[in-house]
Symmetry: C2
Subunit: 136 residues, 2 copies
Amino acid sequence: MITALDHIAVAVPNLEKAIQRFCEDFGLPLDGTEDVEAAKTSTAFIPLPPTNIELVHPLNGEGPIAKYLEKRGGGLHHLCFRSDDIYADVERLKAKGYAFITDAPSPGAHNSLTIFIHPKSCDGILVELNQPADEH
Amino acid sequence: MITALDHIAVAVPNLEKAIQRFCEDFGLPLDGTEDVEAAKTSTAFIPLPPTNIELVHPLNGEGPIAKYLEKRGGGLHHLCFRSDDIYADVERLKAKGYAFITDAPSPGAHNSLTIFIHPKSCDGILVELNQPADEH
């Protein structure tokens, strides 16, 4: 089942400027940055427990965030819900008719498991499901 | 100063279907719905303390959400940060060069004060600042 809103991902054209905006200008905390090879992003983590804002920028100019920025500029990219049993949630939602971008969950950041529901199944919203490493 | 992520607003073309998706299919809680005249929305509240997801649908087919749905279909509409002194935050951010959609905060839902930063000042992201009624 889905247990929490893990993060809100914001696609940003300039990571340093976005960190300045959210952390210096808006006064939110920063919990470091990380290159997430699996997602092809450079990501800055803004902890707002129990959720996070993640500022995502293309790693080496490639990947899905690069395509999003090209097409739409920066913006709110996706919501990620935490699951305590991602395989069961995927099966349950597939049975309800939800389409997923990939067939099965795959490794994400920090050895988590991750999968995206297709926006066409969510009225245009991109939704990620993620199960942390210590829960699978 | 900004003290919290108040909510994430999701524009939805069909409120009943969206409630079914988020609450029945995803298993998230529902804290009722409300017609918010000031924002011209019918809104469903999904509490994920200390933040919320708000599913927003045009009230009587009018207002900014109607225009957004026409242009882009459903999607992640805006982030709202809570402020403990919205006038001071607006002045501070204006001094840093931020543009706002209106000149000054105006009454929002539940007698709060609300204002939106222009997306052109936030790399395409629409950001609301909101000060609850009991804090002004």
